[in-house]
């Protein structure tokens, strides 16, 4: 019996369970009412229905999930114990290839066999599949019936189906939220593991403090020493994300926030704020080619015109400027919120002292909103250094340790992309370096986020 069919059958059983349990509960309720006791039923009939339906579906469902993982192993075991399998080659690789082919033919995904050995295995495979499929389906159905019957016997007036269903709902929600956390943990663990492998090849000191970055040369066999100094990458990341981008985003974001909160009329604000926030919705790849195709050449021409040497067609400035523009909505939105959160009474207090609006903004609102603004900026920085697309397209690949904004620099994210695109072998230091970089990036952005959220939280508490 196939998977979809059994699932459909189970669903049907669940529906029947729901309907019949509800009907029984309704009858019980009717009887209770007839005897004049309005409170005789603890739970509404619907809850009884759900309770029984869940008992029918959940154990069988869990069993099927487990079975789906266990059954293939059992199938293979049985196939291997069949007489046709005695002639299989000994090495694992060709053996699993033949078995795979046999399975494909047996399930009808492949019409004919390339390997005669697998042709002989098709029948045993088909038998085994059918046998275990039937066994699984039968067991699932038995479980569904058993669960349903057990639950059905519990449908009594005083049975607290409502409470049970509630508990089940809670458990379901808990599992859903745990999934996200477990995923995160899984990512962290895999990052840690791969990084650990990398650091067993390259010393962490060399990685964190070395100034020469040339993983390609390491891959070509020149040795790991001096090839994985990540400082130029860190510098490039900071130079673009935290220096140039912020030099653009902070003043522009702050000023637009001030204008929107303090000067703009409500109508204008209603239009301008969403428009500004639309900037955040532009795909980063669009920013990327804008930076690479429009801004970067223009900047290079400009640099050449004013006589700066070393101007490259991919520059830190181009990537930083465009990234700054991209970040503006983050800064302005956070600054907007912080300024708006400064109590009106404080603004009134200053105005009532005879201060002008700009004096009030400068001397009262900005200082009061500063923690919130700082929090916003930190979040923006963490977003900027994690940003990939723009820098990949516009910043370049050369790991230069330079202060010249017109020069090409590279960033952590760019290098990760670089190291992992295309076919890779996952045991060389070159590939594993990407994980180490990812770990550093992860730790830094995590810290920035924690600090930013704490600052913002503390600031919120001060006014609530």
């Amino acid at each position: 019996m196939t998977g979809p069919a059994i699932l459909l059958l189970l669903a049907g059983l669940g529906a029947i369970a729901w309907v019949s349990a509800r009907a029984r509960a309704l009858r019980l309720q009717g009887a209770a009412r007839a005897s004049g006791r309005r409170d005789a039923m603890h739970s509404l009939p619907g809850y009884h229905g759900w309770y029984v339906a869940l008992w029918t579906l959940v154990p069988a469902g869990i069993f099927l999930a487990v079975w789906a993982n266990v059954a293939p192993g059992l199938v293979v075991q049985q196939v291997l114990s069949s007489p046709a399998a005695q002639s299989l080659p000994a090495d694992d690789f060709s053996r699993s290839a033949i078995l795979g082919e046999a399975r494909a033919i047996a399930t009808g995904q492949q019409a004919g066999a390339f390997n005669p050995l697998s042709q002989g295995l098709v029948d045993p495979y088909r038998d085994a599949l059918g046998k275990f499929g039937m066994a699984g389906a039968a067991l699932a159905l038995v479980l569904a019936f058993a669960g349903g019957a057990y639950a059905f016997t519990r449908v009594r007036p005083d049975f607290r189906a409502r409470t049970r269903v509630e508990r089940l709902v809670m458990a379901t929600l808990l599992i859903a939220s745990l999934l996200a956390i477990i995923t995160t943990l899984g990512i962290v663990v895999s990052l840690l593991w791969e990084s650990f492998r990398f650091f067993s090849m390259v010393s962490p000191i060399d990685f964190l403090f070395g100034t020469k970055w040339s993983p390609q040369s390491a891959a070509l066999g020149y040795g790991n020493d001096d090839a994985f100094g990540a400082v130029p990458l860190f510098w490039g990341t900071i130079f673009i994300g935290a220096v140039i981008a912020m030099a653009v985003a902070i003043p522009l974001g702050l000023m637009s926030a001030i204008y929107l909160t303090q000067y703009a009329s409500p109508t204008l604000r209603k239009w301008m704020k969403p428009t500004l926030e639309m900037l955040a919705g532009v795909p980063t790849v669009v920013y990327g080619y804008f930076a690479a195709l429009t801004i970067a050449p223009a900047l290079r021409d400009f640099a050449v015109m004013i006589g700066i040497h070393g101007a490259s067609s991919e520059s830190a400035l181009a990537a930083g400027l465009v990234m700054g523009v991209m970040i503006i909505p983050f800064v302005s939105s956070m600054a907007d919120d912080s300024i708006a959160a400064v109590p009106q009474s404080m603004r009134d207090g200053s105005l009532a002292m005879g201060a002008t609006t700009s004096e009030t903004i400068r001397r009262v609102l900005i200082p009061a909103a500063l923690p919130g603004v700082v929090g916003g900026v930190l979040l923006a920085v963490s977003r900027a250094i994690g940003e990939t697309m723009i820098v990949v397209m516009a910043a370049g690949l050369a790991a230069n340790l330079t202060l010249n904004p017109f020069a090409s620099v590279t960033t952590v994210t760019t290098q990760i992309v670089q190291l992992l695109t295309g076919d890779q072998e996952f045991d060389s230091a070159k590939t594993l370096a990407a994980f180490a970089l990812g770990l550093v990036l992860f730790v830094v952005t995590l810290l920035l986020n924690i600090v930013a959220l704490r600052v913002v939280k503390k600031y919120r508490e001060a006014y609530e």
């Binding site: 009474s345 404080m346 009134d348 002292m353 201060a355 004096e359 009061a368």
Partner: protein
């Protein structure tokens, strides 16, 4: 008994009228919040505005230093003068006006700066101090007048927001005093304070009386009775009755006033 009541209020000729309002109407959009109020505020008496919520007393108070200007939909008709000068005249500099007519708000709103900087704020923006030493003098004088000096003199550079509610409110009064205003408007200055802190503010108002013209809006009738010499009762945007406080509280002329102050309102 009549003689006693009349003693508390000075004869009309002797008081110096500081602000006058004539037929003042305030509109918020289409809604009329104040319906033709005429009132005189003088130097020597504390004037209290009382009335139920939404009666327009705070709105009217805010017309006296043009704080209603910050509300875009607000429109003021009629004339209000300060020392005979129309404060709604185009030539009037609203920033200067607010330096002359200070305001203290319902909730203490010290700036998130040090105590010293809170007081120094006004003198700085108006350039009242010629140097650091001068500013120190102004800060001390203002804090003394606000009755706060002894409590904070050792921690002038602590944050103003770290003070207790009552101290914060006195800091705000000190802040208003620091720019040497002529009139101080207080919008329910004690509504967020406990009774002891309230008593201190009331005592402070007593001490400030005569030096500044003081107008106080309050929900608390007892407070109006305690701190003011003149009381104005507002109801539904009208000035129902204005008179000597002791008369208003012992023998109001208008039925509406009587019902309100004896607790028969609504």
């Amino acid at each position: 008994m009549t003689a006693m009541i009349q003693e508390q209020a000075k004869p009309a000729a002797a008081v110096e009228t500081k602000m006058t309002a004539r037929d003042v109407k305030v509109f918020y959009g289409e809604k009329q919040a104040i319906k033709g109020v005429s009132i005189d505020v003088d130097m020597d008496n504390v004037t209290a505005f009382i009335g139920p919520s939404g009666c327009g007393k705070s709105t009217f108070l805010r017309t006296l230093n043009r704080m209603n200007d910050t509300v875009a939909s607000a429109r003021v008709e009629g004339t209000i003068t300060l020392d005979g000068e129309d404060i709604y005249a185009p030539a009037m500099d609203v920033v200067q006006l607010r330096a002359r007519v200070g305001m203290v708000f319902q909730k203490p709103n010290p700036f998130p700066k040090s105590i010293y900087e809170n007081i120094a704020y006004g003198p700085r923006i108006h350039g009242l101090a010629s140097g650091k030493a001068d500013l120190d003098v102004i800060v001390e004088k203002s804090l003394r007048r606000a009755g706060l000096w002894d409590e904070v003199k050792d921690r002038l550079h602590d944050s103003g927001t770290a003070l207790s509610g009552g101290q914060q409110q006195r800091l705000c009064i000190g802040r208003a005093i620091a720019v040497e205003p002529e009139v101080i408007l207080m919008d329910e200055p004690c509504s967020a304070l406990d009774p002891i802190a309230t008593a201190k503010i009331e005592e402070l108002i007593h001490e400030l009386r005569g030096r500044y013209a003081i107008v106080i809006v309050t929900h608390n009738m007892q407070q109006a009775a305690r701190v003011s010499q003149r009381t104005a009762f507002f109801h539904l945007g009208e000035l129902v009755e204005y008179g000597v406080t002791s008369d208003i509280f012992t023998n109001p002329k208008q039925e509406r006033t009587k019902d309100y102050i004896t607790g028969r309102y609504g």
